[in-house]
Amino acid sequence: MLEVKNLNVSYEKMQVIWDASFEIHSGEVVALIGPNGAGKTTILKTLMGLLTPLSGSISYMGKDLLAYPNYERPKLGLSLVPEGRRLFPKLTVLENLQIAVRTPEAKEKRKENMDWIFELLPKLAERKNQLAGTLSGGEQQMLAIARGILSKPRLLMLDEPSLGLAPIIVEQVFDILRELKERGLTIFLVEQYVEKSLLLADRAYLLEEGKIVLKDDSKNMLKNDHVRKVYLGI
């Protein structure tokens, strides 16, 4: 579905992604793990076109993704739940959801998706006419994920969706991701909860200092000495 080859990305003069190659197959959940500052967000932003790579290729469903302007990529079925949520604080909860609905497919599924989301997250339903900025951190994260789903993506990418949330809410976030996985959605997950992510994902990549240093099935990754020592603290 997505194939990234020899990706190099820099900010101004400082290169932060070095020759990264990875792929995501349809129906898979793939985790991207790595320490702070490794370049995980940079990779996601490059996929969405918020950053332009120095070199490398990105093929998505047979198309050259880099040939598409950033604002068209969501219409191709890519959706990113960005780091720090990035909701529109002065739009209502409902507007934050509606704004993601743009393609005919998304419009067709809109009611079904909304009903599903509101059933899953009754708190959001109660607050649908409230400004998004007035929600609690956990509710905002749920809204950000819900917004990411409403565009009816083929590939959902999430950048540290559990960042800064209370443990119970983190559970809830992972419950939702599990449910999405069961529904067959392809997911690319960036997380700092390495163990939880690996238990959810089919495959994983480890990114360190801008380089992909390890790729494997999640099961094997959980057994990997380096991963266990550095990321699982065992």
Binding site: G49, L50, Y71, P74, L80, R86, F88, I99, A100, S151
Partner: protein, 289 residues
Amino acid sequence: MDFFAQIIINGILLGAIYALISIGLNLIFGVIKIVNFAHGEFLMIGMYLTFLLFSQSGIDPYLSIPIVFVLLFVLGILIHKIILQPLLGKAEFNILLTTAGLGIVFQNLALMFFKSDYRVIQTSYSAAKIELFGTLVSVSRLGAFIVAILAAVILYFVLMKTRIGMDIRAVSQDPEAAVLMGINDKKIFTITFGLGVGLVGIAAAIITPIYYIFPTVGESFSTISFIVVVLGGLGSFHGALIGGFIIGIVEAIGGIISSAEWARVFSLLIFLFILFVRPSGIMGKNARV
């Protein structure tokens, strides 16, 4: 009592005009985050257009509202696309200088085409007055008030209830997140600039029966709209409305107890006072559309 009512009514009528002029400036600031120093000159261009439509084709200023709106909307779009857009993301200062420079160019073009003569248009209702709440008010001022309020209401409706309005608000709050939603932020910037300039075109059409038209007419209105916008809260729609009315009323009161020049001084004093009490403006803090 009548005297007092007269002042307040005049202030409110004037305030609506100030508010409409300021809303365009504020919309551009709130969404694109650029200060349009050519704002007053767009008003001037709109006034000359209204003047030409009237003197050449006999079109009443009220009928030329949609024409001037569309012409200025298109002018705004072209200027943004050709001149301002390429500067976006580069040094902010360049954009300030560019809009200020555009203002000077427009003034000089007007000077070339129209000379520095003061122009007026004489309509059948120019001198007419009607009674309102026991006081006499000028028909053109009342008309300007009604159109200004209508324009503000329509803009509010467009921003709050339409898809494009929602996209504009989203881009105003977080352009990068808006791109992630599939919104073309550059296109929204261009449309918003056109809309802001078009709104000032509406203001131009309705004040043409009231004010003299000359190449630097935009300057004083531009000063007022900057005061109104900062007073109301940068980027705030409601703020521009409230600010417009406050300055309108203050000027009406000041104009009665002294001269028109002193009235401007009064509004500056009120402006300083309010900023002293509320540094981010009356509707500040939530300073986004």
